[in-house]
């Protein structure tokens, strides 16, 4: 029975078991013996608590089509409901408790046709949060993989608030920095226009797309710090690539930029 499940779990290719194979890659883990009332008694409460434990990161997740819903796959520990009536067993709700993150079926026969659907339904509570019980295996807990529809916030709101790409904008010679959300802009021109609006007292954009302080005549060069910590000139890479790699913006006075060039080329 367990071997059968292992095999199905490994068949990451067939559609059925892909859907069904949620978390069954955890065959790498030790399996606890399947349900037995003795093992359940007295651990009921504890197991209920662990039911929501985080699950283990599965290396085959990226292939799993459920990824888009549940992110990293894992198996929710299911509480055995030995205290419920026989009817619930008949109804197929015979959950088993396991020590680890696998839930071998209690009676494979009755579940034959429903097995893969059940497995599909095991919730992947790979939600990362404070204080939650970490994986027992020394692996890092599943990272940032949301359960479908959890937390219960409207997707409309989530999308509106999604912007996490605030970066600081510094302009040489001004006393304070600002922050912009890169995702709200469609391209470089929009970004520079917005920055210009923020620091309108400092400079404006001339025809050549350069930032110029009309009063003093100093020219500003838009630069940004990328993920590697290097200072780059804005505009070389495609916009989306820029958005994903930009950590902060700095509008340097051209005169300083020349110096920077000289020093950075040596590092």
């Amino acid at each position: 029975m367990e071997e059968k499940r292992e095999m199905e779990g490994d068949e990451g290719n067939s559609a059925k078991s892909q859907v069904a194979g949620i978390g069954y890659e955890e065959t790498k883990l030790k399996l606890a013996p399947p349900c037995s009332s003795a093992s359940r008694a007295g651990t009921e409460h504890h197991d209920r608590k662990r039911r929501r434990d985080l699950s283990v990161e599965s290396p085959e997740d990226p292939q799993n089509p459920r990824q888009r819903n549940g992110g990293t796959e894992g198996v929710r520990e299911i509480e055995g409901d030995e205290e419920s009536s026989a009817e619930s067993q008949v109804s197929g709700s015979g959950y088993e408790e396991t020590e680890l993150k696998l839930a071998p079926p209690c009676s494979a026969a009755s579940r034959a046709g429903t097995e893969h659907h059940d497995r599909k339904r095991r919730r992947d509570l790979s939600v990362e949060s404070l204080g939650s019980q970490a994986s027992r295996h020394g692996k890092p807990p599943a990272a940032k993989a949301p359960v479908v529809g959890w937390p219960p916030v409207r997707s409309y709101w989530k999308n509106t608030l999604r912007s996490r790409t605030f970066v600081k904008v510094a302009v040489d010679g001004t006393p304070y920095l600002r922050k912009v959300d890169l995702e709200t802009y469609g391209g470089y021109r929009e970004l520079l226009t917005a920055v210009q609006a923020m620091f309108s007292s400092c400079f404006t954009i001339d025809n050549g797309n350069r930032l110029v302080d009309l009063v003093k005549g100093t020219e500003y060069l838009p630069t940004y710090e990328d993920k590697d910590g290097d200072w780059m000139l804005i505009g070389d890479v495609p916009w989306k690539m820029f958005v994903s790699s930009c950590k902060r913006l700095r509008l340097m006075k051209s005169s300083e930029a020349v110096n920077l060039d000289a020093t950075s080329s040596s590092s």
Partner: protein, 575 residues
């Protein structure tokens, strides 16, 4: 009473403001039924599939205001597949045929096509108000039709809809002769709007009291509009990106100072903390403040703002306000009735933003609090017990601990006792959402004490069928029950089947209910629609005849007079 002339009976019925009361009097006798139905002006349909549109129009020919709700609540969280249903068109068609005097239409969680909006625009000469909440399926072309044809439109209120942008011209479709607008809300539109046309529209609608702009409207434009609408009561700002030394900003401050009637503020996308100062002059008058779209404002700036808002009754805010900020709210906003704290960092671990401490602080300062939606990282029983004692007036209590099934961090116990205290203390509780680690015990408490409970939301809770049964047997006013990821199966489902006819609906997803159980329910209760909703990617893999033991992924049960609906997609099976 039957000896009174009908006019007198009708006049008496005028004093009945609630739908429920009017529904009840209509069942007393035929005469009253007749008087009531002919005099009913406001009709509320809580589930669009509970009754056929034509029947509603036939019964209430004098209807002026119609409200209809479509998808189940969990559709908000992507738990209902996209094409499940909830179409507005049949309702608009039926109204066009049967109630051409319709003046107001309110739709929630429905699919509204441009075609339906066009039909709406042309069919009701007295049409005055359109309110769409959490709807989808239409574009700005549909809005153009409304703007063009609805003479005398007073209200166009679009709240959190998914609207496809087909260009900015729709707003220009309001004719120059349109001066009747009192409320305009297009905050949910993503695209640009013709700012000039908007400013002119706002200027000529002298009765405008509520204006909620979308993100595309600049501060300059806002300042100009505010200067023309000093009597505005509700304002949703557009984008608040402005350099604080800019002239536009100065004009804005000046305009705000003149708006002595402003009571409600929202919007504030992209606002720089410094620019919040512009509204300090209005804060002392504010009763409603919605900052839930402003992640850039951190706790300290929020607090500075809130210190000015001592008349606040409703506050929606992000959890970056932190516990300390909530303490300031507690000491400043003594009139607070509704608080919503939304999570700003949904997926990341982040730092704990608000905890039980913030809630306890609020409860000790804001004794009038009756409505709560609180997303937090942790909660304790002790805190909930304190909150229950401090605030016995809750009518809506929704707590969402972000980590599903998390116990009390101090004691490692489930939160049964905490929620138990809430339901025991808050005798008027009508709506409750649970979270955290919970056993069957919490449902025992709910069944026993939550006598007025109408809506209950359960997620990742309970141990056995007993939990659900406690609720079904206990809460006699229960109307909506929605459950996800909880171990309730057929035994619970079938324990009290008559109950479902007293309720609007039951939703169960990722529970232990099987196809056999659903079939049994459908067989026993012909006046319920039992819908089994399969995930679309699954339905190809579904066997031809799934066994009855097969567990059902999503089930939606509702009472209905209309029988099985004929617009269900193929992944929905109606038993």
């Amino acid at each position: 009473m039957t000896y009174f002339p009908e006019e007198v009976v009708e006049h008496i019925f005028d004093f009945l403001s609630s739908h429920r009361d009017r529904n009840i009097v209509s069942t007393v006798c035929k005469a009253w039924y007749r008087v009531e139905r002919l005099s009913r002006r406001i009709v509320f349909v809580g589930n669009c599939y509970a009754v056929r549109p034509g029947r509603v129009m036939a019964r209430f020919p004098g209807m002026k205001c119609l409200s209809v709700k479509g998808k189940p609540h969990f559709a908000d969280f992507n738990l209902v597949p996209h094409d499940w249903g909830g179409f507005a068109l049949p309702w608009i068609e039926a109204a066009a045929r049967g109630c051409p005097g319709l003046e107001e239409l309110r739709l929630k969680r429905m699919v509204v096509s441009d075609e339906s909006l066009e039909l709406l625009a042309r069919s009701f000469p007295n049409f005055k108000a359109l309110v769409l909440v959490s709807c989808e399926g239409f574009t700005t072309d549909g809005l153009a039709a409304i703007a063009t044809h609805c003479r005398g439109l007073r209200e166009l209120d679009l709240q959190e809809n998914e609207v496809e942008d087909h260009g900015r011209q729709w707003l220009s479709c309001f004719p120059d002769s349109c001066t009747s607008l009192e409320s305009l809300n297009f905050a949910c539109l993503k695209g640009e709007v013709n700012a000039g046309a908007l400013e002119r529209l706002v200027a000529r609608c002298v009765n405008l009291r509520s204006l909620k702009l979308n993100r595309a409207i600049s501060v300059e434009s806002l300042a100009r509009m505010l200067a023309r609408t000093p009597h505005l009561v509700e304002l949703g700002t557009g984008s608040f990106t402005v350099e604080h030394r800019a002239e536009a900003y100065q004009r804005l401050i000046h305009a705000f100072r003149k708006c002595k009637s402003l009571k409600s503020l929202s919007g504030f996308w992209d606002v720089a903390p410094r620019c919040l100062q512009s509204i300090y002059s209005i804060c002392p008058n504010l009763t409603v403040l919605n900052l839930s779209y402003a992640p850039a404002i951190q706790g300290a700036d929020l607090v500075k703002l809130i210190r000015h808002c001592f008349k606040l009754q409703k506050l929606w805010v992000l959890d970056c306000i932190r516990d300390k900020g909530l303490a300031v709210v507690a000491s400043t906003c003594q009139e607070l009735q509704e608080l919503r704290v939304f999570p700003s960092d949904i997926y990341g671990t982040g730092t704990a933003a608000v905890t039980e401490e913030g809630l306890v602080a609020i409860s000790s300062g804001c004794s009038k609090l009756n409505s709560l939606l609180y997303f937090c990282h942790q909660m304790t029983n002790a805190a909930l017990i304190t909150v229950a004692k401090n605030c016995p007036h809750f009518t809506r209590f929704r707590l969402c601990i972000l980590d599903p099934g998390k116990p009390d961090p101090d004691t490692n116990q489930p939160l049964d006792e905490g929620f138990g205290a809430i339901v025991r203390s808050c005798k008027d509780l009508r709506r409750l959402s649970l979270s955290g680690l919970l056993t069957d015990k919490v449902f025992l408490y709910i069944g026993e004490y939550a006598a007025r409970l109408e809506m209950l939301s359960i997620a990742f809770a309970g141990d056995s069928d007993k939990g659900m049964v406690y609720v079904l047997n206990g809460c006699k006013n229960l109307r909506k029950l929605e459950i996800r990821d909880s171990p309730f199966g057929d035994a619970a489902l079938l324990e009290n089947v008559g109950k479902y006819e007293t309720m609007r609906s039951l939703w169960m997803s990722s529970c232990d209910v099987t196809l056999g159980g659903c079939k049994a329910l459908a067989a026993k209760m012909p006046r319920l629609n039992v819908e089994v909703i399969n995930d679309r990617d699954e339905s190809d893999e579904m066997e031809e005849n799934p066994s009855d033991m097969h567990k059902v992924e999503k089930m939606y049960v509702y009472r209905t007079l209309a029988g099985a609906r004929n617009d269900a997609p193929e992944f929905v099976e109606i038993l």
